[in-house]
Amino acid sequence: MFPYRYRFELTVEIDTPQGLRKGASVYEVWASNKTALLPEEASRDWGVRGEAVAVDLPNGQTLFALLKTNAKHGDLAGLSMTALDPAFRNDIVESAARIASGKGVKRQAEVAAGDYPMLVTFRDLTDPASVQAVTPTGFASVFGPGYALRRITVQITDQPVTTGGERRLPWWSKYLDRHLDGTSATIEDMRDENLAAHLSVGNFSTEYVR
């Protein structure tokens, strides 16, 4: 079956001592049903293309909103469906069809805090292992007084998928098969509490490997 497709722009707004700073990225979501030949196979297929939102801050650091979330759905497809489609009830393909048609869905919406993408920054952008999580309410503790997350929004768009983000991560080509701590990306050690052991280039972009 041909997949349903739609694009949306994710915008992150941050209050800083020097005023509002914004960053945005355009993603494409696709979803379709598929025939399962074996009982173990999934009957639905879906995915997201795009890159992490990057917001350059006055203190020289950059905040990244990754392609994964800590919410129930775990990815930006679920984030966009939850925000834009009032009828979304975990029915990925049906929701993609509604959003693609534009009927009965919102054109733009604010993302609820519980659905935010994972937010990270680097203490040293040249060192991938220096990645640290930034909680939605912890901007001041990471970046300093006067820093706060204002809001995150989504808006349906027909703009091209955002590319070119690799210029922000100078080491990306050396980490295609590694986690940010240098360990192999083939397996993930779930006992390791270090964030860098669980993130890879794939969490920042689907376009690096194209």
Binding site: L38, P39, E40, E41, A42, G47, V48, L67, K72, H73, G74, D75, N90, A185, T186, I187, E188, D189, M190, R191, S200, G202, N203, T206, V209
Partner: protein
């Protein structure tokens, strides 16, 4: 309940768990780390959307079975999606090709 039955039931639970972790999960919101009873999640296979593993529908998760009845301390169990039946002999070993996968 004998330890042999408990061991098989626990293995069945871990087999089902491989469909509820990682990507394309049957149950949303489960933590990728932690425990099932005394079995501790150790490793999972790559879950990046652009990876070959996800493209092939592959997913595996490894558990440390220390403290679980019927298993040795330090023993590892790896659960992966799919069947271990011989599909060329679908009514032979495992019989999944005939009867599907049952967990009890």
């Amino acid at each position: 309940m004998s330890s042999e039955i408990s061991r098989n039931v626990f293995l069945s639970i871990l087999a089902v768990d491989s469909y509820n972790r990682g990507y394309g999960q049957g149950i949303l919101g489960l933590s990728p780390s932690g425990n099932i009873g005394n079995a501790t999640i150790e490793f999972q296979s790559r879950v990046s959307p652009e990876s070959g593993e996800v493209g092939a529908g592959f997913y595996a998760i490894a558990y440390d079975m220390t403290g679980v009845a019927g298993f040795s301390a330090g023993q590892t169990v790896i659960a992966y999606r799919g069947t271990d039946a011989n599909l060329a002999d679908r009514c032979g070993t495992g019989k999944d090709g005939c009867n599907g996968a049952s967990y009890l």
